[in-house]
């Protein structure tokens, strides 16, 4: 995996994580992964090396915060929650994404019709 591609993926993944935490409230890593996988209709599968660095980056940027708690199966787990700064970023990224998507759609849609 080239590093450029990883960064794009990381950016998108951060967006998904923030959205998940906004909708679901505090979750542990597994919870986040499961929710994202379900939402993507199992087209995405997250391994350690993808999910946790993304969480770390969000935490370093103070967009999420974490605290230790106990999972439903009685294990020590870290619960992540979105912060006000995270909410701000999510709102901005949602706007940007919608904007980008609509622009890209303008380019792609006519060609689809032609085909």
């Amino acid at each position: 995996m080239g590093s450029g591609k990883a960064d794009v993926w990381l950016g998108t993944l951060s967006l998904m994580i923030l959205k998940t935490l906004q909708t679901m409230g505090p979750l542990h890593g597994y919870g986040i992964a499961r929710r994202i996988e379900q939402t993507s209709q199992d087209r995405l599968a997250l391994n350690y090396g993808t999910l946790y660095p993304a969480l770390l980056k969000l935490e370093q940027d103070r967009h999420v915060r974490s605290e230790w708690g106990v999972s439903e199966n009685n294990r020590k787990a870290k619960f992540y929650a979105i912060t006000p700064a995270g909410l701000e970023r999510l709102a901005k990224e949602e706007r940007d994404w919608a904007e980008t998507a609509s622009i890209v759609a303008c380019f792609l849609s006519p060609r689809e019709k032609d085909a």
């Binding site: 499961r34 660095p53 020590k76």
Partner: protein, 894 residues
């Protein structure tokens, strides 16, 4: 803002002390369990559930690695971890690490110490402001021939130069002097100290101010002015305890009181490193001749004036002087020499040779360590393969190996620093004495300064990066290759690295050859020099120096009375064969010379006979073992005309063989008359004898010498020489006692045997050849270790192949020959390259050699033979080990 927080937490992460990896693993574990639970709920079996979860989530180690990359500012945590990892892997192979660190310490340490010496002597020799504008002025072309070193300046020329020139903002003159420094309490024995008499302009010219008091005024630099002196900081501390109010004190020099007007700053000593007292130079009368070349003239170039302009102006001034006094022994041109260059001149060839030698040593050390790292890298291929499999990228692996290499160099540098400090103290102490026996103008601080430290760090870093890069790159590649073949033990894996190693070994053998040739040439020079006949029998002779204060011993008769009594006393001492006095010892430098003319044979204008001038007591020739070839030795009566100051009494001189043969080739010198200098009305001297040649410098062709019969120098310092039947040093107490009986206030100093004087004379060559020899031997040792290491590693690598060969019927002798040949190939290549380089470079050493050509055949034969022998030895051990390979074991391994 987010970026700032991110920055802080990233930077803080490696130091927070929290075990983040433990936390992360706990998180992973929970994640895994939850995934397994979910899989179970989906109807998988226990086993399936676990397997599916593991497949999906990947190896925790990979996750940790990815997390780490994210966590820190890239390098910081990685670096710390690499350092820790490196330290651990170093601890695992202490033998390798010790050899590598010692090798590096040797190379880096020797270079740092040598650099420090070079910096102190050649780059920044004197602590004067704007040193590049300070020049030493010399009279050149005195004898019509142009030697670029020139002569010291005569007082009258100095005065005229100073008055006429416009190029220099100030000019000063000085000469070294020695004093009997009286004790302050008047009880303890006086001691001999070095000082300088200087024009009052000296300190302004050099740009140095006293820390206490003032320098001299123009009025103090005049005839009849009261005695004043400046003292060094060291003397102030040692003799006055650093007492306040020092400018109200006096100091007793040669029995006379001098008012102290100031103290010079610490570290200031000029013109010699032992100079501790300065007093004004008493001016000369304008009627004095110009032939008295005795002053060191220094000058500071005026801002905006170029050297070429100053040079042209000084030459013009010299030309005008010569035109007004065409018979004078005076400069035709003026040497305007940068002061820094002048100071380092004598030693620069030796020092640069030594620097080149230690640089070679460092290169060899580096090659060795690089080879060790290469071999180790290949050996660790399996480890790297595993790491690559675990997700470490090539760059990551490279970085880690580089860190390990640099770590090694950091340790080497640290050990090298300790080594350099010790070496520097030794060099600072011995080198000036050894290299410059006659002229003390070499200053070496005994503490490494920051320049040297900077140099060392730079040296270690550059060399470290350069030598670890290749092995690291190779190992990282090997690691990537072995990824596919996890055995990490391929027959072909080592081939290419072997070629690299062989090239490196050839390189170090070449460097080693260079050093050996240089050392060989110098050793031959030393051998030749020590076999030179100095013209005196140095064994069983004790010498000592005494200086009579001018005030008490004002007349020559007083001086002569003292010396005669001393000689008589010493001659009566048991064990003494004979005793004598002389003003300048043989083998102790040129010192005094004087121009002579032979009666009835005037020299053409501008040409002079300029023999060394020596003042000897009648017994001197017998005591020193100088043969009398014609005529007779002096008698006591010979000194009478000089002592009685009767202007027309005939004096007696003895000349040496070289002078006699040059001007009286038919052997009829005895009986002829000569007179001194350019004064036709001067006293006549009759040649009463011809004696054997005596050298003042081993290795020089014999110079002309004229001896007179009594001490009549201005300094009133002379040497006592005593020939004994005993150990000469055992006579020292008797000698001291004899002087003390005659005058209890006189210090006896520089007590040495004549053998020591002779040995000191060859010291620069001995010192250089010793240092070069040691360096060459070290290089030989390192190169043979390198060769041995590469061969051993090669044998280990080819264990299977060798086993196979033996199994297929190769005899042990064949195996032995094969491995030895493998070792000799790079050695021979290196030897050839090294000999070629030595052949090309040897001429640079020519000025250091004596009695041996730079391309000396025997040296160029002996060195390759010796090197070949060592290479054979170094190859033989691994080769012998190869023959011990058990074919069965090797095959089973495969």
């Amino acid at each position: 803002m987010a970026t700032f927080h991110s920055l802080i937490s990233r930077l803080a992460a490696p130091f927070s002390g929290r075990s983040w990896s433990g936390d992360l693993n706990a998180e992973f574990e929970t994640h895994l369990q939850l995934q397994i639970d979910a899989n179970l709920r989906a109807g998988m079996s226990e086993r399936e559930a676990r397997r599916a979860a593991l497949d999906k989530l990947g190896a925790p180690a990979v996750g940790v690695e990815a997390y780490r990359e994210r966590m820190v500012f890239g390098w910081l945590d990685t670096l710390l971890r690499d350092v820790r990892y490196g330290l651990r892997s170093m601890r695992r192979s202490p033998g390798f690490v010790t050899v590598a660190i010692l090798t590096l310490a040797l190379g880096i340490g020797a270079n740092t110490a040598m650099f420090s010496v070079i910096y102190a002597t050649l780059v920044h020799p004197l602590p004067f402001p704007d040193l590049d504008r300070l020049y030493v002025l010399r009279e050149q072309g005195l004898m019509g021939n142009d030697s670029n070193v020139g002569n010291p300046v005569s007082p009258r020329n100095y005065l005229d130069w100073q008055a006429a020139n416009k190029s220099f903002s100030s000019m000063a003159a000085l000469r070294g002097s020695e004093y009997n420094l009286g004790s302050n309490d008047g009880h303890s024995r006086p001691e001999r100290v070095y000082g300088a008499v200087c024009s009052y302009t000296l300190f302004g010219t050099l740009g140095v101010k006293p820390v206490i008091g003032r320098t001299f005024t123009a009025d103090e630099d005049k005839k009849g002015a009261p005695h004043v002196a400046l003292i060094s900081y060291g003397l102030w501390q040692s003799h006055f305890g650093g007492a306040a109010g020092i400018t109200h004190r006096t100091i007793r020099l040669d029995g006379e009181e001098y008012s102290i007007v100031g103290v010079m700053p610490p570290g200031f000593s000029y013109p010699a490193r032992d100079t501790v007292i300065w007093s004004p130079l008493l001016p000369v009368s304008s009627t004095e001749g110009r032939g008295n070349h005795q002053l060191l003239a220094v000058a500071r170039l005026r801002p905006g004036v170029t050297l070429a302009h100053a040079q042209a102006e000084m030459n013009l001034i010299a030309k005008n002087i010569l035109a007004s006094e065409p018979d004078a022994l005076t400069a035709r041109t003026v040497g305007v020499i940068p002061m820094a260059e002048y100071v380092g001149k004598r030693s620069s060839t030796i020092l640069l040779t030594l620097l080149a030698a230690v640089a070679c040593l460092l290169l060899i050390a580096c090659v060795n360590v690089a080879n060790l790292l290469l071999a180790r890298g290949s050996r660790r291929a399996r480890e790297f393969g595993v790491r690559v499999a675990l997700g470490a990228g090539r760059g990551r692996l490279l970085r880690q190996l580089l860190t390990e290499g640099l770590l090694l160099f950091a340790c080497g540098a640290l050990a090298g620093l300790a080594f350099a400090c010790g070496l520097n103290v030794l060099l600072a102490h011995y080198l000036p004495r050894l290299l410059n026996s006659a002229d003390i103008d070499l200053f070496i601080p005994s503490v490494l300064d920051w320049h040297a430290l900077l140099f060392m760090l730079l040296c270690a870093a550059v060399v470290g990066a350069a030598t670890s890069l290749l092995p690291a790159w190779r190992a990282a590649r090997l690691g990537a290759v072995s990824n596919a073949d996890a055995s990490g033990r391929t027959a072909t894996g080592g081939r290419k690295s072997h070629r690299t190693q062989n090239t490196l070994v050839a390189g170090e053998v070449a460097l080693c050859t260079l050093l050996l040739v240089a050392a060989g040439l110098l050793a031959r020079s030393l051998y030749n020099l020590q076999r030179v006949d100095p013209g005196v029998r140095t064994g069983n002779v004790l010498t000592a120096t005494v200086a009579l204060p001018g005030k008490q011993y004002a007349t020559q008769r007083a001086v002569s009375g003292f010396t005669q009594q001393l000689i008589d006393r010493l001659a009566a001492t048991p064990g003494v064969v004979s005793a004598a006095t002389i003003d300048v010892l043989p083998l102790d430098g040129w010192q005094n010379d004087t121009t002579i003319e032979i009666d009835g044979r005037p020299m053409p204008r501008g040409q002079w006979i300029d023999p060394m001038h020596r003042e000897a007591s009648p017994t001197y020739f017998a005591t020193m073992g100088i043969p009398i070839l014609q005529g007779r030795a002096f008698t006591v009566q010979d000194s009478e005309p000089i002592l009685s100051s009767e202007p027309h009494g005939m004096g007696a001189v003895i000349i040496n063989k070289a002078l006699a043969q040059r001007f009286w080739p038919r052997g009829d010198a005895v009986g002829c008359l000569i007179h001194y200098g350019d004064a036709p009305g001067a006293r006549r001297y009759q040649i009463v004898g011809v004696v054997g040649d005596v050298t003042y410098q081993l290795g020089n062709a014999p110079d002309f010498v004229v001896y007179t019969a009594a001490l009549d120098g201005e300094s009133q310092a002379f040497h006592i020489v005593v020939r004994t039947t005993l150990d000469p040093l055992a006579l020292a107490p008797a000698l001291r006692a004899a002087v003390k009986d005659l005058d209890s206030g006189l210090p006896v100093f520089a007590i040495r045997t004549m053998d020591e004087v002779a040995s000191q004379n060859a010291a620069p060559t001995r010192c250089t050849s010793f240092l070069l020899g040691s360096l060459a031997l070290l290089a030989l040792l390192l190169a043979s270790i390198g060769l041995y290491g590469v061969l051993s590693y090669g044998v280990e690598q080819q264990r299977n192949e060798i086993g196979l060969r033996i199994a297929l019927g190769s005899s042990r002798a064949q195996v032995l020959r094969r491995v030895v040949a493998q070792g000799l190939r790079p050695a021979l290549a290196g030897l050839a390259a090294g000999l070629l380089a030595a052949f090309a470079l040897a001429k640079l050493l020519a000025s250091l050699l004596y009695g041996v050509a730079p391309r000396d055949l025997s040296t160029f034969t002996a060195v390759p033979l010796a090197l070949l022998g060592v290479a054979l030895l170094a190859s033989f051990v691994p080769a012998w080990r190869a023959t011990r390979v058990d074919p069965m074991a090797a095959l089973r391994c495969e």
